[in-house]
Symmetry: C3
């Protein structure tokens, strides 16, 4: 069975969502796998993945605002704070979202819905290099 694996690196500049749909789509196309699945995996515990509406940026703005309030940086009982106030909230936000997304492939393309985009969700304030593994498996 054909398996196509590639590791990508993305630079983030602060908390928020970064669309990576096009980079994943390019690898799906390059894999020459006709039907199957693509697994997108983030190799970090302070950044995660979400599938979100990619038409109107206000949806991602509100998502960020919600998570800032759900897991506040000044939570008094957090003890895991040696990397700063955004350290522990980042791990919790990862647990609440996803470390991997699995998307079906048909006729060499991801079967995403019309408004679905794949986003890297950065939870740290400082710039980071984030490594993402894309694995395409199936039938060629």
């Amino acid at each position: 069975m054909p398996v196509f694996t590639k590791e990508l690196e993305f630079e983030t500049h602060g908390k928020g969502t970064y669309e990576i749909s096009h980079e994943v789509e390019k690898l799906v196309s390059l894999s020459a796998i006709r039907s199957g699945t693509v697994t997108v995996f983030v190799k970090h515990t302070s950044a995660s993945l979400v599938l979100m509406e990619n038409a109107d940026p206000s949806a991602r703005h509100d998502l960020q605002a919600f998570f800032d309030r759900l897991v506040p940086e000044d939570t008094h009982y957090f003890t895991h704070t040696y990397e700063g106030a955004d350290d522990m909230p980042s791990h919790i936000r990862v647990a609440l979202t996803r470390s991997s997304e699995v998307i079906p492939i048909n006729e060499y393309r991801m079967m995403l819905g019309t408004w679905q985009g794949i986003f890297l969700f950065e939870h740290r304030s400082a710039p980071h290099s984030r490594r993402i593994v894309v694995t395409v498996m199936g039938d060629s």
Copy 2:
């Protein structure tokens, strides 16, 4: 390697959970794949998936009540509201649950636990048609 892909459509009539275990099981059986995985994927950003207790409906009622309070429709700072008060909460509830579920297969059957059911989690109040992709991969 055998890959079996099928797109299903479900009609929802308001917010809540809709069990789709039987429809997925039927496709797993039809695929004639003996061992591997089935990926269930929802092609929307305002409906999601959860594996939940399927014996007592009160568990899903409480789940719904919890999400109604965790992401209230009248949240004052939401700006993404042109499709109504349930627009932005629906996207956040998707981010907090799942867009895909991956379930192992053995001897032509899903290896679900005794009380585990697969549920489509509808987050919009109006009736919707929801498209779900089922991909079975493995060894026949």
Copy 3:
């Protein structure tokens, strides 16, 4: 295509996170699958999975404290309580985290990040036996 499936059992003794990375890694190695994915699946609706920082236990302690407050056991509107005060919170905590994790494999090893560990997240107070299915698929 090679598919390797194995069911594991873990004993838990109260709410919290239990690392299972080594047990999964051992099965990946045993599978002799060179590249592909491993799917870890928990067959329960009151225990779940998370990928978390595995260096400093304080991160998991704070994670537990956060979930205890986000889904309190004394929530007045819960009706699904016949198995005790931790019954309904356990289902909601499963919905908020993951029932499966999919991790890429390269050169016979999981491509986890440096600080990423796989944790069984137990949501019940009493001791439980938890069944986890590990499915390795790919190219040998």
